[in-house]
């Protein structure tokens, strides 16, 4: 496979356009990472002010989405990109979509924090939530790092983590269900936590999608809906 560079086009303007799209994607990734962190903090600390901040940040994320979409559309229309340039534009375009959806999930987490705060009760003690939250944040961060470094190996590592996240999510759901059965008074609170858990699990899925986009960009192979062993073969090729 040909190694990837985005400069050295005869058209310097084209180099600049690709660089700009890349920088904006990384900028959007940074905002989304921050948004998840704030939303998550608002949940574990039951802090409605922080939660509102996370919800507000979604506006910035949406703005970035529109901006980058416009840039990639312009590049497609004007430059007829091929090979790595084409794969790059496709990968950016899909990753923007995933980042925007991650932003939406962060908003859902923040909304649950507000609900819990209104109930005057905290989710302290739900260890699973903290653990899952940390894991998912790491996944998002690593997937964006792998995009920045065009590193298919680390993207594959993120994909491997998603299985563990799914497992942890299922365990957490079972634990919560047990708690609800034991003490029906916890049902409302437990449901709020359940929704937040669900949002975290979805964020993990989007981080996995971003990693798949990175592997497509670097290796030129679409690894969506493939077993991990097959993906590993592609990455090691």
């Amino acid at each position: 496979m040909v190694s990837i560079t985005f400069d050295k086009h005869t058209s310097g303007q084209f180099n600049a356009e690709l660089e700009e799209a890349r920088n904006h994607l990384m900028e959007m990734g940074g905002i989304v990472e921050q948004q998840i962190e704030i939303a998550f903090k608002s949940l574990v600390n039951v802090d409605s002010e922080l939660a509102s901040e996370a919800i507000q940040m979604d506006k910035d994320v949406n703005k970035m989405e529109l901006k980058i979409d416009k840039e990639t559309t312009q590049i497609l229309a004007k430059r007829n990109p091929a090979a790595t340039d084409l794969r790059f534009i496709i990968a950016v375009s899909k990753t923007v979509n995933d980042l925007e959806r991650i932003g939406d999930e962060a908003v859902k987490i923040a909304q649950q924090a507000i609900e819990l705060s209104n109930d005057g009760a905290g989710p302290q003690g739900y260890v699973e939530l903290r653990h899952l939250g940390e894991k998912v944040r790491e996944m998002v961060q690593s997937s964006l790092d792998s995009f920045a470094r065009l590193d298919a190996d680390s993207a594959f590592e993120v994909m491997q983590q998603d299985k563990a996240v799914d497992l942890e999510y299922n365990t957490a759901v079972r634990t919560l269900v047990t708690k609800m059965m034991e003490d029906p008074r916890t049902i409302t609170r437990a449901l709020n936590v359940l929704w937040a858990l669900r949002a975290l699990e979805r964020i993990g899925d989007h981080a996995q999608n971003i990693s798949e986009n990175v592997i497509y960009l670097v290796k030129g192979k679409d690894v969506r809906h493939k077993k991990l062993e097959k993906v590993e073969e592609t990455v090691n090729r």
């Binding site: 091929a82 090979a83 084409l86």
Partner: protein, 278 residues
């Protein structure tokens, strides 16, 4: 063609020893070329090209100016014979016949392997006579009615019949550029070739005329084998099923067009199709 020192060549072709991809076909090959070298006097323009053209496939040949793609195309129906200093080495077969065999009738070969050029070049004759010329000189017909049918069929296949059917006796030079090019395609297919070679057939045409020729290429590929040289990478991507990339006289990479334009194997191919050459 620019002259490169051995060191420069080694650098350009770093990691390249033979063609990347599958230049030869297991079966279904209409034309095969093996170890083709072409020289203009002392200067070598093509270096050991092995390449097959499959039946009913559209093969696009791309590469920077001076890479030898047109030279290579012209070896396929011995067009280079007309250049005194040009020598061709290696084997080129059409359906198993060695086209450089001494016994090969070149006029007949060029009926079997027709060619469409960059600029439309109709004869200064009527539209009808342009198309009828080939069948007449090759003695393909004995009766006027037969000739009429061949002319009509060829013009229909070239998607120009409806535009010219009422003025077949008028000079072909009165047609628009795009119409002239389609007339030249009709003239080529009137003698029922096995292979049609196209050397940048749309470079003198506007986008609409180009779109019509591209549409025509897709239709023609049902009955003919087509090899097209084009400067337009988008055109190669649109019309061909396989693409061959030439660089400084070497066939660097060949593969399915879908693959070449999304994930080429070789750096030189990648650099060319992404516009990284000066």
């Amino acid at each position: 063609m620019t002259t490169n020192t051995n060191d420069e060549l080694a650098q350009i072709f770093e990691g390249w020893s033979s063609t990347v991809g599958k230049p030869t076909l297991k079966d279904n090959a209409r034309m095969t070329t093996r170890g083709v070298d072409v020289f203009y006097g002392e200067k070598q323009a093509i270096f050991g090209v092995d390449l097959d053209i499959g039946k009913n496939e559209v093969l696009a040949m791309i590469g920077p100016s001076g890479c030898g793609k047109s030279t290579f195309l012209r070896t396929l129906n011995r067009m280079n014979d007309t250049i005194d200093i040009c020598r061709v080495k290696g084997d080129i077969h059409l359906d198993g016949d060695n086209i450089y065999d001494k016994k090969m009738d070149v006029v007949n070969l060029r009926a079997r392997v027709g060619m469409v050029f960059q600029k439309p070049n109709p004869f200064p004759k009527s539209i009808y006579d342009n198309v009828a010329y080939g069948p007449r000189i090759h003695g393909l017909v004995t009766r006027k009615a037969e000739l009429d049918e061949i002319v009509e069929t060829a013009l229909q296949k070239a998607s120009i019949w409806n535009e010219v059917k009422d003025r077949l006796d008028q000079p072909a030079t009165g047609l628009s550029g795009g119409q002239q090019q389609r007339l030249c395609i009709a003239r080529t297919i009137a003698v029922s070739p096995e292979v049609i070679l196209m050397d940048e057939p749309c470079s003198a045409l506007d986008p609409i005329a180009t779109a019509r020729i591209e549409e025509l290429i897709a239709e023609l590929s049902e009955n003919f084998t087509i090899a097209i040289v084009t400067h337009s990478m988008q055109q190669a991507a649109r019309v061909s099923s396989r693409t061959a990339y030439f660089h400084l006289g070497r066939l660097v990479e060949v593969g399915a067009t879908d693959k070449i334009f999304t994930a080429p194997e070789h750096r030189l191919t990648e650099d060319y199709i992404t516009g990284r050459f000066g």
